[in-house]
């Protein structure tokens, strides 16, 4: 079974530029998550989708961050304009939560992609 795919793996931009990250979840997984991991910290949830609807975006800095999940499969996360403090690894995860027949806790395990390391200069 293919895992969660993310691209690009690395990105370097200057502050005030814009950047976009792409995520392809595990096939059949209804729920998709974007996390931000700053160096020395644990991942922090930015946004959660179930199919193509937003479940939780309370920690997404909406003045500069946006995300979408068209057709309930792939997702993109965009930052515009980027700030120095946005330097981090952006992780995408998916789970069976919300999938028909996937209601048990064991189906809610989140599987992570390799992440995109963003450096803002």
């Amino acid at each position: 079974e293919a895992g969660v795919a993310q691209s690009p793996r690395y990105k370097i931009i200057e502050k005030r530029q814009s950047v976009a990250f792409w995520c392809n979840p595990i096939s059949g997984h209804a729920t998709l998550y974007w996390y931000q991991q700053i160096l020395g910290q644990g991942p922090k949830l930015l946004i959660q989708f179930q199919n193509n609807g937003v479940v939780d975006d309370s920690q997404l800095p909406k003045d500069r961050f946006s995300a979408e999940r068209l057709k309930g499969v792939d997702s993109t996360l965009k930052i515009q304009p980027a700030k120095l403090e946005d330097s981090a690894v952006y992780l995408c995860a998916s789970s069976l939560a919300g999938t028909s027949g996937g209601g048990s806790p064991s189906h809610n395990e989140q599987f992570f992609g390799p992440g995109t390391r963003l450096t803002v200069l």
């Binding site: 922090k44 479940v55 806790p105």
Partner: protein, 113 residues
């Protein structure tokens, strides 16, 4: 405020001995707890989980213990192997784990030969 705390940034254990990683949480709404393992330049890999209705879950060399009254959980690895050297993250969630997770800062486990 940190809702999930891992107070040991690093832990060194001899190969073959038991590794015990600790985690504390403050949010009473958490009902699902997980441990993830992370190698450099890779995403976190799921290791083991436990629901709040249990106090122990075992999977091979890995056992997670949950003490709800103390809001504390621990991961035991027995016996520790060199490949276990990694950063271990404790995570917690509500909604049976369907919601987004809150992570601790991680503990870097080093297994010494």
């Amino acid at each position: 405020d940190q809702q999930v705390k891992q107070n040991s940034p690093s832990l060194s254990v001899q190969e073959g001995r038991i590794s015990i990683l600790n985690c504390d949480y403050t949010n009473s709404m958490f009902d699902y707890f997980l441990w993830y393992k992370k190698y450099p330049a890779e995403g976190p890999t799921f290791l083991i989980s436990i629901s709040s209705i249990k106090d122990k879950n075992e999977d091979g060399r890995f056992t997670v213990f949950l003490n709800k009254s103390a809001k504390h959980l621990s991961l035991h690895i027995v016996p520790s192997q060199p490949g276990d050297s990694a950063v271990y993250f404790c995570a917690a969630g509500s909604g049976g784990g369907a919601d987004g997770l809150t992570f601790g800062k991680g503990t870097h486990l080093i297994i010494q030969p």
